[in-house]
């Protein structure tokens, strides 16, 4: 359904005022992946990794610098119009709606633009309003909508013309936990009605719960790809030790990275304390050697657990 082959995108930017210098920035560096029919495929990566650029090439908003991409068999460069007819695009955030119009008018407008036939429009708008839980609120102006309601309206707009493929670019960003849970359920429902979905998100639990397969992008390249279980399994088949510390310095963290069997150490700042997340390879118990390296540092809680998708993600994007 979606196929990206060695897709590459370079931006040109300039620096300086008097001596202007042109720079080429490689946002996407030759990525390849494919998404099957009815699959929910996730693109994960830190800010600036190239997720949105990839989506924008696939939905025909940007031309690839090189490489090829096809959606439902149509080339995104040569056959942009055919691609556009068959896809839905939803992004997260407050923008992308006409504030002074009601939700119903917004949907009526986009129904017309996306080719929903006149006699089908009313019925289809009612269907999507029901699906996203906005039935009864559709006559209100969007400017009075909450963030979650806007995002639901975005999804309604994206699927209004019944597209076969839906691109969701961080659809739950900034939505409160309950609203985000409802949105995730809506996304899961899209798969049950036969849609193919490409989702980008920062939230690991979201990707873990929703995605059939995931590609992790870092610095414009795919650094890992597979099912959530496969990615978790790639965390060296080992365990994760979490150590709460107070005032650990960089030198100590470097020493911890040097302990045999340690594959990655990340530091998470938590108010007055830090949480050291240590990923270990193999089955060897490393708590004692780790604590030995922390001699002189105040240590709090120590816990050992199975790796999560977030651990796999961190290991992939921080790997040199």
């Amino acid at each position: 359904m979606i196929e990206a082959i060695n897709l590459r995108r370079t931006y040109q930017t300039t620096t300086g005022v008097v001596r202007r210098k042109r720079l080429d920035v490689e946002a996407v560096r030759g990525i390849s992946f494919s998404v099957d029919q009815g699959e929910l495929f996730g693109l994960l990566g830190p800010n600036g990794a190239g997720k949105t650029t990839t989506i924008k090439m696939l939905i025909t908003l940007l031309l690839p610098t090189s490489g090829q991409a096809r959606v439902l068999g149509h080339d995104v460069v040569d056959d942009a119009r055919e691609v556009r007819k068959r896809i839905g695009y939803v992004f997260g955030g407050d923008r992308g709606l006409y504030e002074r119009l009601s939700a119903y008018d917004n949907l009526r407008y986009f129904a017309e633009l996306y080719g929903v036939s006149g006699h089908r429009q009313r019925q289809r708008i009612d269907e999507v309003l029901e699906l996203v839980g906005l039935k009864g609120r559709e006559k209100e102006r969007v400017e009075g909508y909450s963030r979650g309601m806007r995002q639901r309206l975005h999804i309604a707009r994206g699927i209004l013309h019944d597209p076969e493929v839906v691109f969701l670019d961080e659809p739950t960003i900034g939505v409160d936990p309950v609203g985000a849970r409802d949105l995730r359920q809506m996304i899961a429902d899209l798969i049950t009605v036969g849609k193919t979905v490409l989702l980008t998100t920062h939230y690991m639990f979201e990707a873990d719960a929703l995605c059939d397969r995931i590609a992790v992008i870092a610095k414009g390249e795919i650094v890992g790809q597979g099912t959530p279980a496969e990615l978790k399994g790639n965390v060296a088949g080992g365990r994760v030790t979490e150590i709460e510390v107070f005032g650990v310095d960089e030198a100590t963290v470097v020493r911890l990275r040097g302990v045999g069997g340690v594959s990655a150490v990340t530091v998470e700042e938590q108010d007055q304390k830090q949480l050291l997340i240590v990923q270990t390879t193999g089955e060897r118990e490393l708590t004692q050697p780790l604590l030995a390296e922390l001699d002189g540092v105040e240590v709090g809680r120590v816990a050992s657990r199975e790796p999560t998708l977030e651990d796999a993600y961190v290991a992939l994007v921080t790997a040199e």
């Binding site: 031309l63 695009y89 002074r100 009526r108 407008y109 080719g115």
Partner: protein, 256 residues
């Protein structure tokens, strides 16, 4: 047929949006009346009351242009700020069909200026505009709205790359009044300015309205007015194609 539906619905919804802003609404009421008042006082002092009728009509058409120039030139910029531009571009419809109703809605809102200004002239200055050819007068107004909307469309797609698109529209407001002969006849302008006047549809729209109101043969002016609207649309579609191709290559579509 489907294209007409898109044009019709988009026009209706944009008129709805534009008429819902209290600030824009207040400005749309005040500014044309202000311009008309200035014009009436100037011409009453200089020419007596005999020329006030044509000036009343001119002030009305100035209002249509004023209502259109800034919203049209910044139309794409506003869509970009509201995050809807990319959604419009990825829609399977031709973007021209989506953008034209925006400028058409702005010039339709400008029609209020005609009614408001003529009423203002009657109540405050006692000016009665007698229309000799009412049908041509209405057609002249419609043609003027169309040509101004089409000119606005050409401006909208031409200025999309500029972060100061609205300022360009504002800067063009007064020159168009002058060059199109709204306030002073085109024949009084220097010779080099005449080709610009003739190439601008509002010049012929204004002439058709005057000829319909005061006697004459407005058909020729009307046809030129509508014909130029067609030229602007065709040019706008070509410019739009270049702009979109460039935006896809240079990734400038979502830049604020």
């Amino acid at each position: 047929m489907r294209s007409l539906r898109v044009l019709g619905l988009a026009w209706l919804l944009h008129v709805k949006m534009m008429s819902r802003s209290a600030f824009d609404g207040a400005m749309a009421v005040i500014w044309p009346l202000f311009y008309a008042t200035v014009a009436f006082f100037m011409f009453r002092t200089g020419h007596g009351s005999s020329s006030l009728g044509p000036i009343g009509l001119a002030a009305a058409v100035m209002g249509i242009w004023t209502a259109t120039s800034v919203p049209a030139s910044s139309a794409l910029q506003r869509e970009r700020w509201s995050g809807t531009l990319e959604l419009l571009v990825v829609a399977p419809r031709h973007l021209a069909l989506i953008l034209l109703p925006i400028t058409l809605a702005a010039s339709t809102i400008g029609l209020y200026c005609v009614a408001g200004t003529l009423l203002w002239a009657r109540v405050l200055f006692g000016i009665h505009v007698t229309i000799i050819h009412p049908l041509f007068f209405v057609l002249g107004l419609v043609g003027t709205v169309l040509t101004i909307a089409a000119l606005g469309f050409l401006m909208a797609v031409s200025f999309v790359g500029s972060r100061r698109a609205w300022a360009i529209g504002a800067a063009l407001e007064y020159p168009i009044w002058l060059v199109c002969g709204f306030l002073v006849p085109v024949s009084l302008l220097p010779g080099w300015a005449h080709p610009f006047s003739w190439a601008l549809g509002p010049t012929w729209g204004m002439r058709a309205i005057r000829e319909a109101a005061y006697g004459g043969a407005p058909l020729g002016s009307l046809l030129l007015c509508v014909g130029l609207a067609g030229v602007y649309l065709a040019l706008g579609v070509l410019v739009l194609r270049v702009v979109l191709d460039s935006a896809r290559k240079r990734a400038t579509l979502s830049l604020a």
